[in-house]
């Protein structure tokens, strides 16, 4: 009866959300009086997991699982659940984790709650707090099924160190050709670019920028801050920026530490999508823009005057604090 955690990795290295999921698994296991077992795919050095409270890691080393495959991964994790008699499975809220969590839930006949933002209200019964209505509210949801799958929101519970003695075990789930009915044939991913999901800082711009040719300063600002770039819905609908950058209720959710909105008025759908961000800065020429009501810091001013100045001052700041 352990708590199982899926620890996501890329190119043989754990992602930050793996440590966040492991931290969450640790607090659940502690409440339940048990320990955490991780499942890791093609990671040779798993020692870091011990730092975040994992007692045992099932190491899967398999060439056919080099590229993420939701169905095969879900089947492998389901086998791990049976092997360890796990009653709780923790996953992250990345696109890949959400994809496999639904399949895993179906395979196990489990109860799944995604977007969980805090340690459980209670573990018996299992009640967790999660966002609902696209961040316009929270639900305290009870998981009634025997096996419980919990998806932890990005940057909400956070990463916590709990140094634990870690043991490793090689694990070979029984996968066959039939588990690979969906095959990846190409990945198109900008190398070295910070993604909105993983970013600590997101710089976002809207229609106030007047045209796609003016995004140079947004990218420069993001570059200085090590931030991801994002945009409002009209901007992606008009084709100024790719769909993948659209944040808001029907786009991507943002849960960064700092969200800088430039020339975005703050429609209710946009505010919902970015409300999980901890600190919001709004730069807008219209003092009546609704976004100011949802912001922590604001500058009323023309983006074309304010942003270049901000870039210049941040360069100085970075030089002093490097």
């Amino acid at each position: 009866m352990s708590v199982l955690v899926y620890t996501e990795s890329e190119n043989g290295k754990f992602k930050k959300n793996a440590f966040e999921a492991a931290s969450y698994a640790y607090v659940v296991a502690k409440e339940m009086g048990t320990t955490v077992t991780a499942v890791a795919f093609n990671v040779s050095d798993t020692s870091l997991l011990g730092t975040y409270g994992v007692s045992k890691v099932l190491k899967i080393t398999d060439e056919t699982l080099k590229t993420f495959n939701a169905n095969a991964y879900a089947k492998a994790i389901a086998e791990g659940v049976q092997k360890e008699n796990a009653t709780v499975v923790i996953v992250s809220s990345s696109t890949d984790s959400k994809y496999l969590a639904a399949l895993l839930t179906g395979k196990l006949g489990a109860g799944y709650v995604p977007n969980v933002v805090a340690a459980p209200d209670s573990v018996s019964p299992m009640v967790v707090k999660r966002t609902a209505f696209s961040n316009k509210g929270f639900a305290h949801t009870e998981i009634k099924a025997d096996i419980k799958v919990i998806g932890v929101s990005n940057n909400a519970y956070g990463v916590h160190e709990n140094q634990t003695a870690l043991s490793e075990e090689a694990f070979s789930p029984s996968l066959g050709e039939a588990d690979f009915g969906v095959k990846s044939i190409a990945l198109d991913k900008a190398a070295g670019k910070v993604t909105i999901a993983d970013a600590d800082i997101v710089v976002s711009a809207g229609r106030g920028l007047k045209g796609p040719e003016n995004w140079g300063m947004i990218e420069e600002l993001a570059g200085i801050l090590g931030a991801a770039t994002a945009c409002s819905k009209p901007v992606s609908d008009m084709g100024w920026r790719p769909h993948g950058e659209h944040v808001g209720q029907t786009g991507k959710p943002v849960a960064s530490n700092l969200y800088i909105a430039i020339g975005i008025s703050g429609a209710i759908q946009h505010l919902a999508g970015v409300s999980a961000s901890k600190v919001k800065v709004v730069i807008n020429s219209d003092p009546e823009a609704p976004f100011f009501k949802a912001a922590d810091y604001g500058i009323v001013g023309d983006a074309f005057a304010v942003v270049p100045k901000l870039i210049e001052k941040l360069k100085e700041f970075k030089a002093q604090n490097a």
Binding site: L103, Y112, K136, G137, A139, V182, N257, I268, V279, K309
Partner: protein, 280 residues
């Protein structure tokens, strides 16, 4: 004489290759793909969200309901298949009679028939079990659902159906082409996209990108009139377990007032972000 025989042979070979080409086309391109689109009835994206006085449920007073946006992109793609490649398009939902206007809208957009499972959609697993039963009985080739509903944001229904019925599944689907039973799909991933090869029967969790915002259709008068005549079948739910229950809701804590910084005083903003908010 020998030359004549050669000619006959060549003509015969051309004829055979023509026949096999036809056969190939027939088998590779089913004349009729059976599609079903799973629809969720959700509050309009502009809705203010309130809960009942005891915080036990969502307060629907004064709320406009619409087709879940992620489902509407999928429905629009289904209409494209119907018009360009030949397909039938059914729509299905789990809900009480109150959701019928939303189903009529889907019919007005162009779906052929609607099915409503007569039950309160209490949790994702329950809904998935109901939809799986309808899908299994209907023998569909392509099942289109949304990535998530914008109300409860479970994002689990298509994945659970895939596991229950052993279907291929592509989530966060932003592109879909079908040729014969071969499928090429695009999936949004964090920071990019993935191209996927798979085959029918398939279920997808769709979103914007399947079609563009500008491709969405507003039902015209003729569509609305025709929708009234279309079949809307009500089926009773199958026995199914409930995996989760929302015990209580609350709203985000009210936000403190914004601190305004003068546009000429960027140093002050950097100071606040560094020393007060500690985010840079």
């Amino acid at each position: 004489m020998i030359l004549k025989f050669y000619y006959a042979c060549i003509v015969f070979l051309i004829f055979i290759s023509y026949l096999s080409g036809q056969a190939n086309r027939l088998f590779k391109q089913p004349l009729f793909m059976k599609i079903i689109v799973c629809i969720s009835n959700v509050p309009d994206t502009t809705s203010k969200i309130n809960f009942t006085a005891d915080n036990s449920q969502f307060d629907t007073t004064g709320v406009q309901f619409v087709i879940n946006p992620n489902d509407e992109f999928g429905l629009t793609r289904a209409m494209w298949f119907k018009e360009k490649q030949g397909a039938s398009v059914d729509v299905v939902t789990v809900g009480t009679a109150a959701v019928e206007p939303t189903m009529r809208k889907a019919l007005a957009i162009g779906a052929d028939e609607a099915i409503r499972v007569n039950a309160e959609p209490t949790d994702g697993f329950f809904v998935a079990q109901q939809l799986a039963d309808v899908i299994k009985n209907g023998g569909y080739d392509l099942i289109i659902a949304g990535r998530e509903s914008i109300d409860y944001n479970g994002g689990m229904v298509p994945g659970i159906i895939a596991a229950l019925l052993d279907l291929n599944f592509v989530n966060t689907c932003i592109g879909l082409e079908v040729e014969g039973d071969k499928v090429t799909a695009q999936r949004e991933i964090d920071g990019g996209k993935e191209t996927i090869a798979t085959s029918l029967p398939l279920i997808i969790g769709g979103q914007k990108g399947l079609v563009e915002e500008s491709d969405l259709r507003i039902p015209n008068m003729r569509g609305i009139m025709m929708a009234r005549q279309k079949k809307l079948t009500v089926v009773e739910p199958v026995a199914a377990s409930k995996a989760t229950a929302d015990n209580r809701f609350d709203k985000p804590a009210p936000k403190g007032a914004v601190k305004l910084v003068d546009a000429e005083n960027i140093d002050e903003l950097i100071n606040l972000l560094h020393n007060e908010a500690k985010v840079i």
